[in-house]
Subunit: 343 residues, 4 copies
């Protein structure tokens, strides 16, 4: 049974395993202070055309909670789309570091100057938290992406209103390689105060590379990392993986594969006449099916159920990855067609 | 140049890399809810002769901070030797979760009913924190170990006085295989409320297996893990490694190797006439050398400098690992002898 | 210029000042361990017909943050109306203790089983916080009150779903004496897990009396109070005030006065043809006026501006207190009439 | 029975009660934004010859925890004498805001460059907290005081090593009026980054006036206050009290009274041949008595027992206040003499 549950169901791209093996008995210093991490950080900075400080994390929740704890004073709050990962799926990790998350409803999971403005207008004086950081993810939790124009507008607005702009790039590969995307790593380094490049969901065993672009946010960042248990003893494992991913653009190649298969799956579903919550250009799809269709589909494929629509349809999430075989997409569409035709 | 800086300078035992490779393209559920983690947990419970709940962490600081945050109410404090890892080397991770760490000075890094008692006597009433958990490590930060009798006495004392007993097993392999050690995994499961079995410092790429022995401490533990960023997306990596380490007692074999080489190194140093901070039965050694000796030694070997003694000697730490070659020990002793003889 | 800004613009009822004076040179133990606090607690328990533990706080934010920190484990969250004081006006005090506040929109500022249910359905598993406590205020932040039937339904729902029910009684006097109210202190003690009786906004210099009704929530509560700086050194000041307020039902008398004047003001405003955000039975009113009316009104009276309606009207808040003179209400209505007539 | 337990056993100086009464029905804005608070702040600044920002707190624990939470980033720690109030008697309030308290043993309860230096030398790198603030109290928890020379040396050291200097002035009146004291309010404003002037223990009903001298520490301080529940609704009560205390140097007059009676008591005890833990120039005394003496003394006077000495003596604390009558001191000495003579 093939799983479309997520993009971290498999191990890592073979080139990564090979790098681990080839360097296995080399001795290095711990905690990311090794030549592999230095090389990977240099490589990332070159790709970003930036002098950003680069820090490697094992996972996204850890990266988010550490960054926000480092950037915010106790009374400062983050603004997040209500669908934002920090708001919904991190068990209150940000609040556990003491900070409120203010939410903005948005069907497409994206923040804009326009939908943030009411939050700013509604907060003044010392009886309310001070909104201080805008949290966005790209691609978003509902599979959408930001254009360069959108990110520029948001970045400008943040600068004008004294907000930091932080971008969660757990699925950044998929976003940057989405058809029609005009955003690049240098854009991100230029437009955000900090962002991370997600490895876990794009071919690494694990790993997220945080770029702290704004020099004012760099001080003592590693202290915060250690305090949150976010410095890996054998940090070299992170350096090695990001070197492998970015040496020859493997990172983008893998993301393109996932996007291509997702597009094929989405197109096929639409052709079969099933509606979509929204049309996604990335590797997460949100189609809607009747309950009985899902019951039969789940005999052959696994996926995540998102929510029930009021009209009876059920939204599910289908995710492709760097490792998804074309045959799995074909088989899924074939099964869906068979289910549809049998009704 | 060989490094005796620590036991996480290399990658992982080849059997672990092999396990990763062989399973690489298998799809599993994320977050440790996969067959490999289940199998590893079963295996550990069998070795512990216990029904303990097993949770896998990537690193020790994360394990410690999550466990203490889960076990303690806000006004409750941990008692630690002043040398304890949570007190010194985790950047205030426990305090960052809101809890005070009360310290007990102890040359050998160990807690006993006798040295804890003054803390209990000195704390009463709501103007002071309530001591609630005893934190020990085995082997300790200065290389010593607990005997079964010592742990039994401590466990009994904790039960009588309403304290949880928590054991940090970052170097548990080295402790349990130390010459003369009579402690076993079943003893630990029986005598502590929770403890973890360290993988990072004994042949894994990373990984610590937390056993929550006391059923009263199990509720919602995974919520705390997620909140602290301590659930690995590809959790299977942890299950696979612990399976490899415990399937054929590889874990103990690797620890024995490190201990044996450490003993040889310690004996050699003593024979050369250099004093020791204390005689260590484990893989961390604390010899004292004149400053000029260290200056020459450091041309060929790397190590950590601990502190300067008042009489002029300097205490360093030498650590062996599962991967230390005999030749490195021989070479180190040879160099030390040459330095001594040239004076 | 009279202020309708709030109900804590004046000092305290003269009987309270008299009590302070009469006992001024008596020596007592500190921290609320004095005969006045004991007597006040006994009196409150008698009025509540309950064995609740009573703790005295200086202010409401302190009371709320301490109670929630005491009652919740780190991954547990509070559910609040989006207008709730803890959500809006405490500068993230609850989040600063580590807990997420989940919000429910409600025009009338009230929670019901029906509007809470989607929160419960939307939260499951360890990637999300666990909703654990329902926060309500009575009277609410928009001046409405709970009936006994409503509170019984909410209490039953909370018990069935494993939620604590916590009631913020900053303006409890006004709620319990509102025309038509059928709720009593014994009802509150029976139906909630904890609630507090607000003194600051009803004639005391300061002071809130927390009743912890659920025995499971009582353990070590004073430790939490001290940790949050919420034990007053001269705690007797709190005991003395609550004794004065409850010895002869002064508390209810003062609240009735405020309600009566508020009703007269609200009726007069309505008669003049101005709309209300909602009809309030308590001492906080929310009328809507054209901007130019407010500009002229503010020359003679001060008040808080709440929000601009889309149609151009502006909602303000007018608050009466135990000390509001009838003449101020008359003058306000007279001014409003003059403004209206001049247009 | 007279109590020497502490200096907050009575109410307030009559001038304070009178001020409350005279202004009772005046309406003012809440939260310390009233004319009385402004006047008191101006008065304090004039006395301090400083432009310090002044904030009023209800109590000392609240003041300490708010200031440290405001001043420190998450990985930064406070250095305190091991006897420091924040270390011992605030139920881990500072740790509950996330910060470690590093301790320095000192018989006289005082910090010096010399006894702080080992802490600085022992902390480096991101695996340890960063010492960032020096916490001292004056008078100290054992009744001693800082001279101007000592404070100047400490202040210079702190500036050179990048540490903030914070002074807890819960008993500042007693310190500044101690015989031989050469410290003044302007000195404190010049030499510390922040300090507070304690009212609770020197004649107020309650109240501590925090002076934030270092402009870099002022930003958004009131947000932190509100978040910790430390803004009093009827803030005017604090302004009124500090006005009364500082308008005619009542503050110093009251402290001098307490010191004078304490000196008389201490001299008398010494004359009777009982030893002292140390000779205190302030209103807290630490004499040592045989157990049976205390048993008889406690029939007529109450006091706090501190600790048992190894040689069998017991150290108690005797505290005088602004309200202590001479007769109580006389009676106490008489009783002690009678006990001594009967042996």
């Amino acid at each position: 049974m093939h799983s479309f549950k997520n993009d971290y169901s498999e191990g890592a791209h073979p080139r990564i395993l090979k790098a681990l093996e080839e360097t296995n008995l080399k001795q290095t210093d711990g905690y990311g202070l090794d030549p592999y991490c230095r090389a990977a950080a240099d490589l990332l900075r070159a790709r970003m055309e930036s002098d950003a400080e680069i820090h490697f994390f094992v996972g996204g929740t850890q990266a988010n909670l550490t960054a926000l704890a480092a950037f915010l004073r106790p009374h400062e709050a983050a603004i997040s789309p209500s669908t934002g990962h920090i708001n919904v799926h991190e068990t209150g990790a940000v609040e556990a570091t003491g900070h409120k998350v203010l939410t903005v409803p948005a069907k497409d999971g994206k923040l804009t100057p326009k939908n943030i403005l009411p939050i700013l207008r509604g907060h003044s004086g010392e009886h309310m938290v001070r909104p201080r950081l805008v949290y966005i993810s790209d691609s978003t939790e509902v599979g959408t992406v930001y254009t360069k124009g959108e990110l520029e507008a948001l970045s400008r607005f943040c600068k004008e209103t004294g907000l930091y702009l932080y971008l969660d790039g757990a699925r950044l590969g998929s976003a940057l390689t989405a058809p029609g995307s005009d955003l690049t790593l240098p854009d991100l380094a230029r437009l955000t105060d900090a962002f991370y490049v997600g490895g876990t969901k794009n071919g690494a065993l694990f790993g997220e590379a945080m770029a702290v672009c704004n020099p004012a946010l760099r001080e003592d960042f590693r202290f915060l990392m250690k305090q949150r248990g976010a410095i890996l003893a054998k940090g070299r494992l992170l350096g090695l993986q990001f070197e492998a991913l970015f040496r020859d653009d493997l990172y983008f190649e893998l993301a393109r594969h996932a996007n291509r298969l997702a597009a094929r799956l989405q197109d096929g579903i639409a052709e079969l006449g099933y509606p979509l919550y929204l049309s996604s250009p990335t590797n997460q799809l949100f189609p809607l099916f009747p309950e009985e269709t899902l019951s039969r589909l789940s005999e052959e494929f696994s996926f995540e159920t998102m929510w029930a629509e009021e009209n009876g349809g059920i939204c599910i999430r289908l995710v492709t990855s760097w490792a998804t075989p074309e045959s799995a997409v074909d088989a899924c569409l074939k099964t869906l067609k068979a289910i549809r035709d049998s009704n």
